[in-house]
Symmetry: C2
Subunit: 439 residues, 2 copies
């Protein structure tokens, strides 16, 4: 009865019952999501999605954020969800390496625009959508991810459905069946990392979950025990699950509070190494470096072992590039992952100096860096908590600056400031139009 | 290099190189698919899909078969693909329990209509689409299916992509990446059996595969080794695969030749029991029956063990209902699975006389039936090959009659006859309009 109980819990959980800290963190999450979405919206990935979708439909129900353009809600959800993950710069629930906003926020924006829903309801839908997907992720992490599923899309469908179900006011029975129709559409292979298809995953998860909600709202039937059934999601998509994690401490232990934001535009497992290289670069010049040894958890190299990245996208999965460029430029924003930087001969040469080593006993949030100078002297640095981690979170000012940087190509500064203000008072807005009018 | 080699094979295989028997069986498969699709199109499942989709889009690119209505190609593909599976009356590749036409034919019809493609190309696309999905199914059957995936949708995405890629003339590199983008969208839980979501599976697989083709055609990037990669489809979606089955005897061993058509409107594993009950009913009246013992493979009861079906849809997964009604009415067409029949007290009472037993050594295509009369005398029947099996296939006349029965509520008899003629000379048609004009 996990699925039905989950549907009941969703119903019974009001915005008022949530701690203020959760509401605040939700607003930061939405702001961060909006920034990365607007930031990615001019990427070739989005051009292709738009070109393809425009040949199919000509509805104008929901805004493509940052494009002064509207599409039907399913297409807008796909496109905005994809855009938010293009830079690999979105939020991360560190316990599960899940990017929670990607599959949920596009649904909140698209349906909020279509129905003119009040923003208290939208915020509740967003928080509970994230809560549901992250609790399901907790039940199957790490084996599900290790087996090769991209957890953001495979459980993201449940989050998208939950948010859509709340906004469209489906009843409890339909909420449970909607989770069924969403769960049967779970998908996403980690093999796609390093291609446009990776960012397609959260977008498609959002779209699949939204489709599930639209259909059950209209009477479509599905299983109401998708999670726990013998041939249901937990058993089929995973070898070793802990179903109790889905319901335990509901309403007390909030997953969104464990959501973190990235200061750097690449996989979060690289952030400790980037922190280390930036610190080292403050005291040593590039010419002095013979090599930089980085001791990391095996996961880190498994995810980011691309030795010879050819494009910016590939470089985001390269500990060699991320470490080299952050040493050379003291930053690792989107700019440091452009194709130009990746192909720059000086950067290519410096990448050869990066020597990662794996060590099972090293925490994946930490790194031990050892720089050996040409003259043989050595510098050691140990990063226990990277910038952006829960222990060393980005400040509101950090988040605002990141948002500003991501939006500045698309929007004038005045509007960016107003957007930040609106997003941080989200629950008081009459409708999402109060946000959209500045985009 | 399986995926790339598969893309090369697809490219190099012409319609002329295919045996005439394969071409003939492909046309029968398409005719059978068109019949079940038109037959299902007025079902509530389709009403809901149409109502939901119409709120999103107003394009008129491809026909909803049997509805005098057009939608965008993605929606039409979803709806026609779903309709074809509603009655569980579509084709079956017995080696893998895969319904091959469901995810492929909707793409052939939708793109054929949009682009005005010649029907030789469409037939080639259909045959190769089926070949690809069925070979991938062979590589992962039975463990994939046993683990709980609905194989028709989980590998159907590859078939849909293949057909769409051929019709849209993508190059080899894009074909391989398209298989990647399709494969990452693989989905479908057997837990959904008995609900509308089961028939949604082939439709959604068709739609996902078509979307993959549309995107790679426009430049979207993906992995070109989705099948064999460490975190690719074969490893992630399956515990025990035989990758060599995907390429072995390509061009010689044709999967579509092993495709079978159902004489009865329910799961194929029930057909031997239905044959047995119809035969028994020829010599014994219902009142004389004390009980009918059916010894079947464990799979049969696992799939169709619903003891107290409440609806027609549930009854298709009930050996109790299927056996009882076929004894009482000497048939098991769609009519025998209506809600009325399922709830009829006489039928409900007779269901109690059906006693299935499982036996590991019984082939799943066979049944041993033992009827015990009220007076204690017994009748034994052993069905080695059910009607519709490869050993006892439906004749062309059988197929035509099935098609006619499925279409007669929607189309006048004259058109039905013309449709059969056109479908059986499919490769000679200038375009799919030669078929659509009669629907």
């Amino acid at each position: 009865m996990i699925t039905k109980q989950l549907a009941t819990n969703i119903f019974n959980t009001t915005l008022e019952s949530m701690p203020q800290s959760v509401v605040l963190h939700a607003k930061k999450s939405l702001l961060n999501w909006l920034g990365v979405t607007i930031g990615g919206i001019n990427h070739e990935t989005i051009n292709i999605l738009l070109e393809t979708t425009e040949e199919l439909t000509n509805s104008d129900q929901a805004t493509i954020l940052g494009r002064n353009k509207k599409m039907d809600i399913l297409s807008a959800t796909l496109i905005n969800g994809t855009s938010s993950h293009i830079f690999d710069y979105d939020d991360t629930h560190l316990d599960t390496i899940h990017h929670p906003s990607g599959p949920v926020a596009p649904v909140v924006f698209a349906l909020g625009e279509k129905f003119g829903t009040d923003c208290q309801t939208l915020l509740r839908a967003f928080i509970l959508g994230c809560e549901v997907e992250l609790r399901i992720s907790k039940a199957i992490y790490p084996s599900h991810y290790q087996n090769g599923f991209h957890i953001t899309s495979s459980t993201g469908v449940f989050g998208a459905m939950t948010a859509a179900g709340i906004i469209m006011e489906v009843n409890e029975e339909k909420m449970a069946m909607g989770l069924g129709l969403a769960g049967t559409q779970a998908f996403g292979l980690r093999e796609m990392f390093g291609t446009m298809t990776k960012s397609f995953h959260p977008g498609k998860a959002a779209q699949n979950g939204l489709l599930a909600a639209l259909l059950v709202k209209n009477g479509f039937t599905s299983s109401d025990q998708v999670l726990e059934a013998k041939r249901g999601f937990l058993n089929v998509y995973n070898s070793n699950s802990q179903p109790e994690k889905i319901l335990e401490n509901w309403g007390e232990d909030w997953q969104l509070e464990k959501n973190s934001f990235k200061p750097y535009a690449c996989g979060i497992v690289l952030h400790p190494s980037i922190d280390a290289c930036i610190k080292l670069s403050n005291v040593i010049t590039p010419n002095e470096v013979k090599e930089i040894q980085l001791t990391v958890h095996p996961y880190v190299l498994e995810l980011t072992g691309k030795k010879f990245p050819a494009t910016g996208l590939e470089a985001k999965f390269s500990i060699y590039h991320a470490s080299a460029i952050s040493f050379l430029e003291q930053d690792a924003s989107e700019e440091q992952f452009s194709d130009n930087k990746v192909q720059n001969p000086e950067v290519v040469a410096f990448r050869k100096k990066i020597k990662p080593f794996v060590n099972d006993s090293m925490d994946k949030e930490k790194v031990s860096a050892n720089l050996i100078k040409q003259d043989g002297t050595e510098y050691d640095i140990y990063v226990e908590h990277a910038t952006g981690s829960l222990e060393k979170p980005m400040t509101q000012e950090n988040i605002n600056r990141k948002f500003t940087n991501l939006c500045k190509d698309n929007l004038p500064e005045r509007r960016i400031k107003l957007l930040i203000d609106r997003m941080m008072e989200f629950e008081n807005l009459a409708s999402i139009q109060e946000v959209l009018k500045y985009i």
